[in-house]
Amino acid sequence: MTKIVVLGAGIAGHVAASHLRRKLSREHEVVVVSPNGNYQWIPSNIWVGIGRMKPRDILFPLAPLYAKKHIDFKQAKAVSFHPEGDSQEIKPYILAEYVAGNENGTQEKVTYDYLINATGPKLNFEATEGLSPGKNKAHSVCTYTHAQEAWIALEGLIKQMKEGKKTRILIGTGHAKSTCQGAAFEYILNVEQELRRHKVRDMAEITWISNEYHLGDFGMDGMLLSYGSDIMKSKEMVEMIFEDRGIRWILGAGVHKVEDGVAHYETLDGEYKQESYDFAMLIPSFSGHGFKAYDKNGGDITDKLFKGFMIVDADYSPKPYEEWTVQDWPETYQNPSYANIFAPGIAFAPPHGISKPRKSKNGTDITPAPPRTGMPSGITAKLVADNIIGMIKNPNHDLHHKGSMGNMGAACIASAGFGMTKGSGISITTYPIVPDFKKYPDTHGRKLGKTFGTIGLAGHWLKLALHHAFLYKAKMKPFWWLIPE
């Protein structure tokens, strides 16, 4: 009998746990440890943040599903890692602290044979002075609670606009090294459309603020894409959309401080500037959770497991942008020190960025961190589950399930407005996610055709269809596994 412990029940953790449970007989134990009792389909937070969906439309409780599917669920958070056990416990374990129920506050050593760390990012609001969801008129849409609060504030502002108040709205990244520009991009377009729907568009100046050097960088160094019969840079595409929607933009901005209605930022030229607003949505930087790890004697071995996020089979040797290759990126997400520990999704430490790194004249790094969106999170979680199953069945298994972001495509359907007839979506696919400049030297590291963009109502329908399909899949309803990650 083998015990597999999955930390986190987000996209990666839930995909891993559900595939493990489906493919392994019941003699093997699958345990999920996660502090949030709900599964949330994060991409639809955007629609919660504009009041077109309620949190209940994008989440469901995990405990009943896991009970039905024979997955053991502990509503707890991992506190520390003990991959060699300790003087009393010979098996490796993680120390978990319950966050709900009768056991709230108590700690438990959760032993494992295999561990999947799918704890995603810590939303590192503290890295930007004054940035905290709902404070200083600045909001977030990173969780459904944040998104709901953002909508309440925006709704209030729409009322004021209807009464004649001119307003300023600021949306983008809240730190010099934030990632997830895609989510902020979706939100700004959805907010713009909602203002038009409420007939108050002329009452607001809407501004995009971002640590990107070019529009459309998205932390992926931008893309050259097929757009209908044209070939276009993502920069041109986003510029075209912002021009069309009357959105102004500030680029190369490292937001470092937020005060009531004012965002302070540094530019790549080394200047310190500020932008005032009545409503802001700023994505914080993402970091690791600050977990500690100990060996069997209690010695600190955190640096064997973590480099901010979890260390996996990537090449972490520091090198300049010109020497970055796709081979630096991990393939199996296995920790090199402990072969029974894996980290799919956002939980793994990337070898470096994807976008060209840039520093301000004062030496501040102002560069988007590399995104790991839902699709690669799901794919990497599934391949980790498959490799673990292989290892259980055959101890000499060679981890042949591989999935480097340098050899994987991603589809990103960015909502640009909600509505069955008035909605819009920007559908972008990218192959590969990490540009391979050797294979595709003339097309900025990506394969044209497989890297394409298109705008229109169909994109909204597709995004909505994906919302329903992925919630159906997450609820493990009949034939859920036929829906790809």
Binding site: M240, A410, A411, I413, G456, W461, A465
Partner: protein, 44 residues
């Protein structure tokens, strides 16, 4: 000079009949990219 969305392009983007076919095309295209698989890069 920034590109602009022309009136005709906007019509195509928002016309439900054209977009219905686009939806089918897009769904298939996205599926093909997902189903196109993934792999390693080191021994490629």
């Amino acid at each position: 000079m920034t590109r602009r969305i022309s009136k005709f392009k906007r019509f195509v983007m928002m016309n439900p009949i054209i977009q219905f076919f686009k939806f089918i095309y897009l769904s298939i295209k996205v599926l093909v990219i997902v189903a196109g698989g993934h792999g390693g890069t080191r021994n490629a």
